[in-house]
Symmetry: C2
Subunit: 431 residues, 2 copies
């Protein structure tokens, strides 16, 4: 049974607090194991990478086979269903077009004193993209990571994808090909993260690593953070649906299950002011589960982490949504825009009854890599800015230095940093 | 002796590689100790925070004394030299004015299919600002962290600052006051980071933590990363000066020493095409060291980590600067703008002979919290965006769903996520 909450119940605050605190992340303690692998690859390079690949992926490689060949990529594209490739191509175009609008503008201005200030954006030169193998190998995620990197102007986008028992998902290679990524290595896990961060004889190091992975990948990314940049640590996915009596319960149920089928730790939540809708959705979920291929996963997620929250008025959902800070927020009410304008914490908002989250997962154009586990309170989905960095610019002439110098010197002295003061004073003939 | 390198030397590549790989970060293994402190504060709240403060800061507090009172703040402001307060006020105004230009614009557009897309920026609701105690307590850093947070529109900016033996730097409190920060707690170390991340009875939790700190603070930030957002992990500071014969060697020496005086692990580097200038700068450094209050620190930094790189032509400095990816880059050449345009990796660029980095540290207006240890290859200085997050928006009507739906369904099926496909199909009466 999903959790049923009602804001008019006297113990709502406590029950909602417990619901918020529910831990869905698997706290696998793999850090020590990861540290050994990372240190080994950092120290011994290809040899360690190849040994770890033999051990974890049951795959025998030599250094010359680490990289996926152009021919393999071409074969993979041919092996894919053309209809799927066409859908990937549509997705790629729409993702590219959306993300082009995120390209930031440089700034340069001269202030009243004549000081020239500003900043300049530039692409990160080399980025690594981790792609999970096995069942969680999603070609759509390849596009969502690689396309913004290309739009940003990253010179070198390197993909790593594990190939357990030698198997590679052709759609993943096809998506990489469509996104213009041709440097692909068949390695995964903590060893692939270490190879990207430290480099080996075969794999030149990158400056930032993005992309989702299992607990080992997440722990390894945390370990190399600082040496290279990393994106967020992805947790289990979640959706919050806010709906009033105008909404179709079967559509809501389908959306809740689309989230739940990802992972037994995924979370699907409905907030509604209509008790009848709440009941209808709960029943529709059960009906639809009976014919769903991934019913076991979806049922576990819905029963363990699902929730239906009844509110007295739909406005109550604003505060609840901000506290939940859902990765995905669907609003199916009479006035979705009005409600959305009041909600501050969400990774992405899907407005109205005809915007199921699955559109955003694939072909909407916005990014599906979004902050999970309430981190939308402090972070954003993946975008072009994640593949760029800003350099600030400052230029004074003698006049400007004369005007600003004394205050800088006063602060240098106050902070006990006399060489700071002197670097100004020496130019102004001030002691 | 600083390292002397020459690009015309046959072993330059190897020597430069070794120079780049030189480790300046102190690799204190404090993680286990930090984890105990963080877990203790997460579990026992104020009681653990108070015990750790007694132990590490030799300060006896009860919960009612954790917060610095309004009266104490007012007293601190009065105790400061008015000239220093005026300089802080000038700095605050200029930082505010610069950072206001970083406020991002929301985007909303309708594409050719009629799909509405865009994103919306909003401020993080609560942010914690760590301020080191003791000698590294810099009021300028309080402004550099707090002002962008205020400009972003953060509702609640909370400052923590350790008060070893009960001592607080009045200038730090004055800077907080000028920046509009009034919620200040006299705690520091890993225990303060844990209190900010998990909350205690006295300190409500925040969603992101910024600000520099010692090895314990850095390790604790790494541990709570994910639970809350964090800024970069700050390393020892560095400056790279690129200068030709047009530059004044004494000014360059003063700038190299302004960096070196921060920390024995700081790094100051000169690249020049003029052998005479290289010699003159080296001599000027020695001369100026003899009268510098923090000469011991500056000398250690210069001798252990300083460097002078001679190039055949100033254009060679572009590739070297990109590899060094310095936190601060000063360009004192005949055409600083031309050279700056070619360099991609730097935290901040200071153009021309009259822009010593100390101006940027205090009153230039740009932020002095900048990426260290070559991380300018993949990250930016602190700015308004660090205190905001982006929510993407997507809206389809029935027509748009009809056009995009089949491709989304194809990808859902291809990824084995049939409930995704169904959430689209159920709205279109498609199987």
């Amino acid at each position: 049974m999903p959790v049923l909450l009602d804001t008019s119940s006297p113990d709502f605050a406590a029950a909602f607090g417990a619901f918020l605190a529910m831990k869905r992340e698997v706290a696998a303690d793999v850090e020590a194991a990861c540290r050994r692998i990372v240190d080994d690859v950092a120290g011994r390079g290809d040899a360690a990478l190849i040994e770890a690949t033999r051990r974890f992926d049951r795959l025998e490689l030599d250094a010359s086979k680490l990289r996926v060949s152009e021919d393999e990529i071409a074969q993979a594209v041919k092996a894919c269903d053309p209809k799927t490739v066409a859908a990937l191509e549509l997705a790629r175009e729409r993702i590219e077009s959306f993300h082009r609008r995120q390209l930031p503008k440089d700034e340069r201005f001269t202030d009243a004193l004549g000081v020239e200030l500003g900043w300049r954006w530039s692409a990160i030169q080399a980025v690594g993209l981790y792609v999970p193998g096995g069942t969680a190998a999603y070609p759509s995620s390849v596009l969502m990571n690689a396309v913004p990197a290309r739009v940003a102007g990253v010179d070198r986008v390197v993909m790593v994808v594990p190939s357990p028992d030698g198997k590679l998902n052709p759609l993943v290679l096809a998506a990489a090909h469509l996104a213009g990524v041709s440097e692909i290595y068949r390695v995964g896990g903590a060893q692939a993260i270490a190879a990207l961060a430290y480099g080996t004889a075969t794999i030149a190091p990158v400056f930032k690593i993005v992309g989702p992975g299992n607990a080992y990948v997440a722990a390894a990314k945390r370990l190399v953070f600082g040496k290279v940049g990393i994106d967020m640590i992805a947790g289990p996915s979640e959706v919050l649906v806010i709906a009033d009596r105008s909404a179709n319960p079967a559509w809501i149920a389908a959306d809740l299950l689309a989230q739940a089928e990802h992972d037994a730790n995924a979370q699907s939540i409905l907030i509604t002011d209509d008790p009848a809708l709440a009941g209808d959705v709960a029943r529709a979920v059960e009906t639809q589960l009976s014919t769903l291929p991934r019913a076991d996963i979806a049922r576990a997620s819905w029963q363990d982490f699902g929730g239906i929250i009844k509110v007295k008025a739909i406005e109550e959902s604003v505060a609840l949504a901000d506290a939940l800070a859902a990765e995905h927020l669907e609003i199916m009410t009479a006035d979705p825009e009005g409600l959305a304008a009041k909600i501050r914490n969400a990774g992405a908002v899907f407005l109205g009854a005809h915007t199921p989250e699955a559109i955003g997962d694939y072909v909407g154009g916005s990014n599906h890599v979004l902050p999970t586990a309430r981190s939308a309170r402090f972070s954003s989905g993946l975008g072009v800015l994640d593949f760029m960095k800003r350099t600030s610019m400052l230029k004074c002439g003698p006049d400007q230095l004369r005007q600003l110098g004394p205050a800088a010197m006063a602060l240098g002295h106050a902070e006990g940093l006399d060489a700071h003061s002197r670097s100004v004073g020496i130019r102004l003939n001030l002691p």
